[in-house]
């Protein structure tokens, strides 16, 4: 049984939403350009918009089924929502905003701990204040805390981190990951950032003009080349499963074993044996025909060119799929290099992966990656 099952058809003026997907537990990222229907879909799931036709189920719970005339009212859905525009209660203090959902959540059930959430979001000094005087990022953090503390059965987050700086993101992302992993709360996460999505998402749903352009396991979808134009050309890359195999305390490095081979990355605070997900952005993979020596690239993977696809025949770059051990990784190089190196499908190459380009999927490697 999928943790989240959504099928919706609805019209808003000239915009038509027609979307269906299933997602297993974990984080489902909704991805797509501005105006592609992400917020509209979020509204349907949260029960804020009654679609013309639709069916939404979370875990075992049927929340909406227009065919069967089921429409659980929003306050019984227990779908904690972080809205794109904050929506803090102006008459309540930050503390009261945070605790709002507590009143209505079932007493017995475990949920996020207030102190931990406050600490993680760095909003301790704001607790006694009212939203009107908060900065943009502060508001957004309070909104995240408010949704987390409502003990939701599903967490909907509509671009929750867009007003935050990288450091703050780096503190919040692992928390969301822990939520996913420990509490088992499924999360729907709307984002424009491939890095965020790659890091968090188990499932990726790419929307385009109200329709599903691609959906499936995040690694698969991100690796599929034709997603790139939709998702912002810069950031496509391969996503791999990785197991923590060794820690090197001297150099603060961790060795990960992946289908593509062993990779050394800045230290990851996860016990040996943990399984993580990492992304290797295509643009961070350099190719060499000779085995490179004396370079700063820690990770050199022997590989075979599987497919070459110019993104754009008139463009400067080409994307290559490389068979690398059991896995496929992506590399983006200039067409000139392609020609100079004489690469064709079947050619043997070395892929140089800068260790700092890895995106481990659990507590962040502080100080660069």
């Amino acid at each position: 049984m999928s943790a989240l099952s959504v099928a919706v058809a609805h019209r808003l003026g000239a915009f038509a939403l027609d979307v269906a997907f299933e997602a297993p537990a974990g984080v489902t990222a909704l991805f797509g350009r501005s105006g592609s229907g992400k917020t509209t879909l979020v509204n349907v799931i949260a029960g804020l918009l009654q679609p013309r036709e639709g069916r939404v189920a979370v875990g075992g719970h049927l929340l909406l089924d227009t065919a069967g005339s089921v429409a659980v009212p929003r306050h019984r859905r227990r779908v904690g929502t972080v809205f794109q525009e904050g929506r803090l209660f102006p008459h309540l203090t930050v503390r009261q905003n945070l605790l709002f959902g507590r009143w209505f959540a079932p007493r017995g059930e475990p949920g996020a701990e207030v102190g931990a959430v406050v600490e993680m979001l760095g909003i301790g000094p704001l607790l006694g204040r009212r939203p009107a005087g908060l900065s943009g990022g502060e508001k957004q953090r309070v909104a995240i805390g408010r949704a987390l503390l409502a003990k939701p059965r599903l967490l909907l987050m509509d671009e929750p981190l867009s007003a935050l700086d990288d450091d703050r993101k780096a503190e919040i992302l692992p928390y969301i990951e822990r939520l996913r992993d420990r509490a088992g709360v499924p999360i729907v996460y709307v984002s424009h950032s491939v890095a965020e999505v790659a890091r968090l998402a188990d499932t990726l749903v790419v929307l385009d003009a109200g329709r599903v352009a691609a959906a499936g396991p995040a690694g698969e979808v991100l690796s599929r080349l034709n997603v790139a134009p939709l998702s912002g050309a810069r950031e496509s890359g391969a996503v791999l499963e990785a197991r923590v195999a060794a820690h090197d305390d001297d150099f603060a490095l961790t060795t990960l074993v992946t289908g593509a081979g062993a990779l050394r990355v800045p230290r990851v605070a996860a016990p040996l044996g943990t399984t993580l997900r990492i992304q290797i952005p295509a643009r961070d993979v350099m190719l060499s025909r000779d085995a490179p020596r004396h370079t700063s690239a820690l990770n050199v993977l022997p590989a075979t060119v599987a497919e070459i696809r110019p993104i754009d025949a008139a463009g400067a770059t080409a994307d290559l799929r490389l068979a690398c051990g059991d896995a496929v990784i992506l590399a983006r190089i200039t067409r000139l290099s392609l020609a100079e190196m004489g690469l064709v499908p079947g050619a043997a190459v070395f892929a140089l992966v800068k260790s700092v380009a890895l995106d481990p999927a659990r507590p962040p490697a502080r100080g660069g990656r």
């Binding site: 904690g80 929506r87 009143w103």
Partner: protein, 231 residues
């Protein structure tokens, strides 16, 4: 003070305060309910209800008073029932004066509340819903606090109207000193006798002073509310 205001005048003042406060207080809940219905509801009789609420504004007060007498009098449809079943008599009682004032101020109160309710950002209510708050909780915890300025405005309008109302009051409950003679009734009486202007003026000043006090209090309350929302 004792010298300046005769005992009758002091009775009238006391009574007016009681009547105005009761009228305002008793209107609050029904006013809020009807304002919410009018602001949010989409039901068949909506326009009719709206007209009904405005009626006391449109009708000459004497007519309203007469209608009250017919409906809430001891032999009236409602009044008879109240008297027989609850032992509640309104006619010639201060409670009747409060009813009359409440009804005269009702359209003012409802409109102020309604304007405020219409100004509430429904997205906040939606957000409260997603956090698990049912409709009643959303209303109590989000809508109502945001609507407070309108509630205060409505209350002060109703109170002020009650301090000034006499047409409907005197027609419904007459002008019995110590029982139903409110300040405006007393003022009216004085204006009806040659030479009564001085007394009328004195009572008018008292009435204005009381209302001004209520107004100032309401403004202070509203300002502190606003300050809280502002920063």
């Amino acid at each position: 003070m004792t010298g300046w205001l005769g005992p009758e005048a002091r009775d009238a003042l006391r009574l007016s305060l009681l009547v105005a406060a009761t009228a305002t207080g008793a209107s609050l809940l029904p006013g809020l309910a009807i304002a919410t219905l009018l602001a949010r509801g989409r039901f068949p009789g909506r326009m009719l209800l709206d007209t009904l609420v405005h009626l006391p504004l449109v009708l000459p007060p004497v007519v309203t008073g007469y209608l009250l007498l017919i409906v809430f009098g001891r032999r009236g449809i409602v009044g008879g029932w109240l008297a027989d079943h609850l032992g509640l008599v309104l006619a010639f009682r201060w409670t009747g004066a409060a009813l009359a004032c409440a009804i005269m101020g009702f359209p003012l109160m409802v409109r102020a509340m309604r304007l405020s309710i219409e100004g509430v950002d429904r997205k906040l209510e939606e957000a409260a819903g997603t956090l698990g708050a049912g409709p009643a909780a959303v209303f109590a915890l989000v809508t109502l606090p945001l609507v407070l300025p309108g509630v205060i405005a409505g209350a002060i309008l109703s109170f002020a109207r009650a301090m000034g109302e006499f047409g409907a009051t005197i027609t419904f409950v007459a002008n019995i000193p110590g029982e139903t003679q409110t300040l405006p009734s007393a003022i009216y009486t004085f204006t009806q006798v040659p030479g009564g202007e001085g007394d009328a003026l004195r009572l008018t000043l008292v009435s204005v002073a009381v209302s001004m006090l209520a107004l100032v209090l309401s403004e202070l309350l509203a300002r502190s509310l606003k300050r809280r929302l502002g920063a």
